[in-house]
Symmetry: C2
Subunit: 497 residues, 2 copies
């Protein structure tokens, strides 16, 4: 367990965020790219793949008609360990190759030359380990890698033939690799931090009293299942389970009838705290390795039947998708904003949750859907919602501090997700349960919902087999380059027979 | 991921369970021992310790007055990897030493000689790995180890000086080793399978309608926190947190005022299932590696305030203790009984949860408490309750099948706990919340509870600092040797300042 030392403050302005930086690699300079030199998110990938990770239409059609997809979706059975890379433009940068070519020799960190122990640990991590090992190291290690990668990518004269060859060999098109889970989180916690989501969902079950009395005091959270976290692109098999939508004397068991997605963001924990030692608010930033997009797939009919009194279980634990790129805290620094304002009738958070540090994040988000029919007709995915992470009632920092306030130990690489991100406007709701809700009363029974119409004329109240859900996130601010999260995708397959 | 092949049936009667077996090691023949030759539960331990794991009174007094106990309680920071052993009498048997001495050469399994690959995998596991690796192998491996250990321990002439020396060296007194977590579970799920517990707790909040409509259809469960699972003997720091027992306008943050234990049993999963592939009821036995005692420490005041609508979180995740010995399915075979009878008004479980196999277990259980004062006065721990696992409404097999019914993947070594084990009698209730409840109505406010009186005259409604909770479990049946679980202990330390 590494308890990170206090982070030295970044220089202001941070030179790694300079919008004028240019790369010799043209795709890095594309202003529309999610992955300019200023971002450099971490990912894990398999370099030589005979099958391409992105499924083409024929492949999807095969899966929907019952084809076996195990070898594509289960990342656990891989023979070759994935490599650590960084996304840049349309490509991935091989960090181990960079180190082996001597690119890190004589490098500096925070104004000091790095020593042999540091380079040894880094080599162990890049060559024999993976992001699982990287998140356990001090946060100086990922910062160093981001700085060195940026130095390598910066425009300028090439030193010689060897350096020229390294420029060619260290980059591989993202379409030519298979992105895997960045790492395997050992623990997964899901929060419920959007007051708009909590109010909407609460209204369905308790129209007169949608928000419970604890909501504005406690960053409500619960434990999820870590073993079923899958990478973007892994197919999602419609789960079976018990449900009782009609409130019949007995439930039935069968394929989920109300399959939904949930748009979320998640923190990947760097370092961790020993059991019994809470992390105080003024140190919490040292434990944020980076952020990913999260799709917390949800079986609403299973959930309604099972969740009392101990919370969601099988309605959630069949799959959770995360985006393959961990966007670092350093890259997100310009997009930190004040936490959400409290209204005049809102209570102040208890002292351990208070801070004047800007722990909100201005991150734009959207969810798109492409049905089988749309795919066949080559119709682009249709946008279902558009929102922003800044509307959350609780910040990620508050969630993390709360999580450890009783002494609970966070482990390097843990995933702490925000809960569904819904904003104040109807078109910023982060799941179908809310988007197709008519807002007119109790929803325990299958009341007439207001379906969403797709470009093909198809209607959706919940997800159908063959639907692919695509989540995107990015940050924009004048004077800074766009910092993107890439995509978190998942295609719904029929329930197994 | 190893999907276990179907287990060949054990011979009947199973010779490893023969009550007439005698060992050359006298402590193994003690009829009161939890660990005769017929049991041989797995454990992990550190052989050479300068500090003894069992704290003596002076040590405890030091801790209670604020001494630092980190080096004693946190098993994660150990330098030497623990060894795999088996409890026998008052000692532990070193399995790696047995293998290195050639005790497994020319051995048979299910009537066939084992091959080199088998022995190679076993060596990797015993010498370089641990129980974490053992639970991922086919269940034939632990069965083989239990059979070979028994053969080594069986009374009979010794082959020569080398064999005589092995008999001396392979056993170490349990008091001379430090027992650690048997392994580190990657996922932890807690169920709610005692209908007596659910009814009692439900009555406190809903006197007219204690059992929710889903209870007799769904084996209710929720995800716990795997990172804070600690071994028996690790001290439990009283957590801090938000509570609002008085139903005030705002909660307060401070040390838990209603700290409780929960007596549970847990399955350690052997093998696992790939994501998307449920385990059917007729195969579920192949995934039961063994059972442990579980203390699911609970902060009742935190729980009451936080649990709506997503279930318990900080009220539970500060610590969960498990006993150090994993009692194997083979050793428990004689104590399998029919699952609990359903009453005439009880619904039949849905088809996927039905079985005619006897998946109940006749396991006797008790909880004891020793306060600081009792320890000082050398008064033995007092029994708080006595129960039996056979009264559960849902069997462990049903919990496991339900868990994977939506495709959720179980991972080797996962811990699936039963939930509080309470029986029909008042003195068989498995937590203080129930034991000190007067049964006279809503419990949302701190209604007068009926305290339990200790031999010193001290009273307990919930746990006080300095209390040590001791759980024990064992099986007895005429014609068979006693099979015990040992103890699951935990001492409550004051909240940190």
């Amino acid at each position: 367990m590494t308890t990170p030392a206090s982070r030295p403050p970044r220089p202001t302005p941070d030179p790694t965020l300079d919008a004028n930086l240019r790369s010799w690699f043209p795709a890095a300079n594309d202003p529309a790219s999610d992955f300019p030199m200023q971002n450099l998110p971490f990912c894990s990938y398999l370099p030589d793949v005979t099958e391409i990770a992105e499924s083409d239409d024929a492949d999807i059609a095969g899966k929907l008609s019952g084809g076996n997809d195990d070898d594509d979706t289960d990342e656990n059975g891989l023979d070759t360990p994935p490599r650590i890379g960084m996304a840049i433009g349309d490509s991935v940068l091989d960090l181990d190759m960079l180190m082996h070519a001597g690119a890190f020799d004589d490098a500096m960190l925070d104004g000091e030359p790095v020593d042999d122990d540091f380079l040894h640990d880094l080599h162990e991590c890049l060559h024999h380990g993976g992001i699982q090992e990287l998140v356990a190291l001090e946060l100086e290690f990922p910062r160093f890698l981001r700085e060195q990668a940026q130095a390598f990518l910066r425009d300028g004269p090439v030193g010689g033939q060897q350096a020229r060859r390294l420029r060619q060999r260290a980059l591989t098109k993202l379409t030519d690799v298979r992105l895997t889970l960045p790492h395997t989180p050992l623990n997964y916690t899901d929060f419920y931090a959007s007051i708009h989501h909590a109010t909407n969902v609460g209204s369905m079950f308790r129209p007169d009293n949608p928000l419970l009395p604890n909501y504005k005091h406690v960053p409500i959270g619960y434990h999820g299942r870590a073993s079923s976290i899958v990478p973007s692109g892994a197919d999602i098999r419609r789960p079976r389970g018990q449900s009782n939508i009609e409130n019949a004397p007995a439930p039935t068991f069968g394929p989920c009838k109300r399959l939904d997605y949930e748009l979320e963001l998640g923190v990947i924990v760097g370092g961790g705290n020993p059991l019994g030692e809470p992390i105080p608010m003024d140190k919490i930033g040292d434990y944020i390795f980076g952020l990913v997009l999260v799709n917390d797939w949800s079986a609403r009919d299973l959930q309604a039947w099972e969740y009392q009194p101990l919370g969601p279980f099988l309605a959630k634990n069949f799959a959770t998708s995360i985006s393959p790129f961990i966007v670092t805290r350093d890259a997100l620094e310009p997009f930190r904003i004040a936490g959400p304002e409290r209204g005049p009738s809102d209570p102040q958070p208890l002292e351990y949750l208070q801070t004047t540090d800007p722990w909100g994040f201005d991150i734009q988000l959207e969810v798109l859907l492409q049905s089988s029919k749309m795919r066949e007709a080559k119709i682009a995915p249709a946008r279902l919602s558009k929102g922003n992470f800044k509307h959350m009632y609780w910040t990620l920092a508050q969630m993390m501090v709360h999580h450890t306030s009783n002494g609970c130990n966070l482990i390097p690489g843990d995933l702490l997700a925000s809960g569904t991100i819904s904003g104040p406007e109807p078109d910023s709701r982060g799941c179908l349960l809310e988007l197709s809700w008519q807002g007119n009363g109790p929803d325990a029974k299958p009341l007439p919902r207001k379906p969403i119409e797709l470009p093909t004329g198809e209607k959706r109240t919940f997800l159908e087999d063959g639907d692919e859900v695509i989540m995107r996130g990015w940050c924009e601010r004048p004077g800074f380059r766009r910092i993107g999260f890439g995509e978190c995708r998942g295609l719904v397959l029929p329930a197994s027979v």
